[in-house]
């Protein structure tokens, strides 16, 4: 028996004869398809295992020191670590939550409940969908323009005050830039959550004389909360993993002298770095000092733990509520 091509099988299979041949080709097709999935999963597995193996020399012996240490010029330095990156990434997450979350949820509620399918709303929706596809490095340019350079618009609307307020190349600038970057994600997921609120609940509230804002507060927000939270967690995880915009707004890769505690707000308008930037930096240092490969791997493990924790919380949250609501 020969393996026939899928096309032939399709033609013959449709009228039901030569069943055996169909089986073989069908099985082959399934095997090919399955192998695509298996390869993807294998890549993921290799990536995780290889990284953890590389990171082992740092993490197995000095986890705590590594988490508390700072950028150093030699990989065997006792004080080498990622604390400065954790500081930057932590505050980036905070700024995203503080700005993208309320603005995104407000926008989603406007579009779903207030906008009445107007032309303007359609334009806003289109804009949001396209913003979601803008490369992250372009957002970096926006951050550079708005928060770092003392820019003007057409020469007369000065934006210099923004750069003054953020301190230029600072965590604040980075956080705001990334908040803008993830805003479309927050809006789109929140819109889906708002749309999923049963119309019966909305009508019930309106029928009892609730105003629109009361309906939103008492029905939409409680019901959509898990979905909105899921979207925000995904957005935070995305923001924490981004590096390109940070490079554009001027994250520091070399000597950063301060190593503030996480909650020390005095560092927010200072020079900064973040976990992904540290990884990039150490990867590039490995030519000079090969030990930095392991340091970079260890920093990756720290970053992955943060990102995956946020992601998995989001996914679990969503699955749990999907199941509960059938």
């Amino acid at each position: 028996m020969t393996f026939s091509t899928i096309g032939t099988v399709a033609r013959r299979g449709a009228n039901g004869f030569e069943r055996k041949r169909t089986d073989v080709a069908g099985g082959l097709f399934k095997a090919v398809i399955l192998s695509a999935l298996v390869v993807s999963l294998l890549v993921l597995a290799v990536l995780l295992i290889d990284t953890v193996a590389d990171a082992w020399s740092q993490l197995s012996t000095r986890t705590w020191d590594f988490l508390n240490g700072s950028l150093r010029s030699r990989s065997i330095d006792d004080k080498l670590g990622v604390k400065q990156g954790l500081y930057g990434s932590f505050w980036i997450g905070v700024f995203v939550a503080l700005t993208a979350f309320p603005i995104g949820v407000g926008a989603a509620i406007y579009l779903e409940e207030y906008a009445n399918k107007s032309r303007l709303a359609a334009v806003i929706e289109l804009v949001i969908r396209n913003l979601a596809g803008v490369p992250s490095v372009v957002y970096g340019l926006l951050g550079l323009f708005l928060f770092v350079e003392r820019s003007t618009i057409f020469g007369f609307v000065g934006l210099g005050w923004l750069a003054d307020a953020t301190g230029g190349r600072s965590v604040l600038s980075a956080g705001l830039t990334l908040a803008v970057l993830v805003l479309p994600i927050v809006i789109i997921t929140a819109q889906e959550a708002v749309r999923s609120v049963p119309s019966g609940l909305k009508e019930g509230a309106y029928g009892l004389g609730a105003t629109k804002s009361e309906m939103v507060r008492t029905q939409i927000l409680p019901y959509a909360a898990p979905g909105i939270l899921t979207g925000t967690l995904l957005a935070m995880s995305r923001a924490i993993g981004e590096a390109a915009p940070l490079i554009l707004v001027g994250a520091i890769t070399g000597g950063l002298t301060r190593n503030p505690e996480l909650w020390d707000t005095s560092g927010l308008r200072e020079k900064f770095t973040a976990l992904p930037i540290i990884i990039v930096e150490w990867v590039s240092e490995r030519g000079r000092d090969p030990g930095f490969s392991e340091a970079a791997a260890a920093a990756i493990v720290v970053l992955l733990v943060l990102v995956l924790l946020l992601n998995m919380t989001a996914i679990l949250l969503r699955n749990r509520f999907e199941k509960k609501r059938g």
Partner: protein, 314 residues
């Protein structure tokens, strides 16, 4: 005004007018929500303004011969050879698609047509985890694992990055994107079509190839277009594993290192405290950004068209 106010059961218009305070409050809240929605529009306008205003200076002042036909991309020396970046962008994107299209679509077909619900419940979150992996991690993986273990066996060098290495890394990054858009497209194919085919005695593979895939073709195309757009804009994987630092000689071989548009931008902005260099270096950043922005925007708009076509069909 017909009868006096004393008739029992009568009602005045004013009684139904609602408290002005409440009406005002509602209007205020609605305005606040509107402003939140407007932020996106303002952001878009600012992106376009920022790109155009700085790129305009570049386009006005640059010696155009330095953007075409020079030996490479040396922005700090005033040499901005765009073909260098475009060729590298094309290569990495092409290689990325060669990786992502079969893997992503295959995974999507398996998940949508073969996997049992219990398998799906495990497999989908795993793909979502892959989707959540930051690109710096893939840059590291491409440079330190793919280069020596894969690229070295297909004619490349294992010890450093190249467009081939970066392309594979970018491809892995876009697998979940292709998979999720393709799966959505296949899920949108009505069950009745599948059942009609199965009712004629067709087997699963036949139904998939002859019925489901043709019906979902718009969505599959869309998944590739969006993935191309994503690959063109991917920065960090190419920055780390593309095999070039702040400058690149024009090359047509994927085995060489080079800079794509976004990685050129990142390398221009990194390292030093300020974007410095000869006169237009800073503006060149925005010029490249503008080209990249317009390219990805065009692709996304086309991709959207295809996605919408799927929606209208069913």
């Amino acid at each position: 005004m017909e009868t006096p106010d004393s008739v029992p059961g009568s009602l005045s218009l004013a009684a139904l007018a609602g408290s002005p305070r409440r009406v005002r409050k509602e209007r205020l809240i609605s305005r606040v929500m509107f402003c939140a929605a407007l932020v996106s529009v303002v952001v878009s306008a600012l992106i376009i303004y920022a790109l155009f205003s700085e790129a305009w200076i570049f386009m006005r002042d640059v010696d155009w011969s330095s953007t075409w036909g020079e030996l490479g991309w040396f922005p700090r020396r005033g040499i901005y050879d765009m073909p260098t970046l475009l060729v590298a962008s094309l290569w990495t994107t092409l290689i990325a698609m060669i990786v992502a299209a079969p893997l992503g679509m295959g995974a999507a077909i398996y998940l949508s047509e073969y996997a049992r619900p219990t398998d799906r419940a495990i497999l989908k979150p795993i793909l979502e985890i892959l989707a959540g992996i930051p690109s710096v991690v893939l840059g590291f993986f491409a440079l330190l694992w793919l280069a020596p273990n894969v690229v070295a066996h297909i004619g490349g060098e294992g010890g450093r990055g190249s467009m081939l290495t970066a392309g594979i890394g970018v491809g892995i990054l876009t697998v979940p994107l292709v998979a999720s858009i393709s799966e959505d497209a296949m899920a949108a194919v009505p069950k009745s079509l599948r059942e009609a085919s199965a009712g004629l005695g067709a087997r699963n593979a036949v139904t998939t190839v002859r019925v489901v895939l043709p019906a979902a073709v718009s969505g599959l195309v869309a998944s590739l277009i969006v993935a191309v757009s994503r690959a063109l804009g991917e920065t960090m994987v190419v920055f780390m594993a593309g095999g070039a630092a702040d400058a690149a000689i024009r090359t047509y071989s994927p085995y060489d290192g080079s800079l794509t548009m976004p990685s050129a931008m990142a390398s221009l902005a990194s390292g030093t405290d300020q974007v410095v260099g000869e006169g237009l270096t800073f503006q060149s950043l925005f010029f490249v950004g503008l080209v990249l922005f317009l390219l990805t925007l065009g692709l996304n708009l086309v991709g959207d068209r295809f996605v919408n076509r799927v929606r209208e069909q069913y």
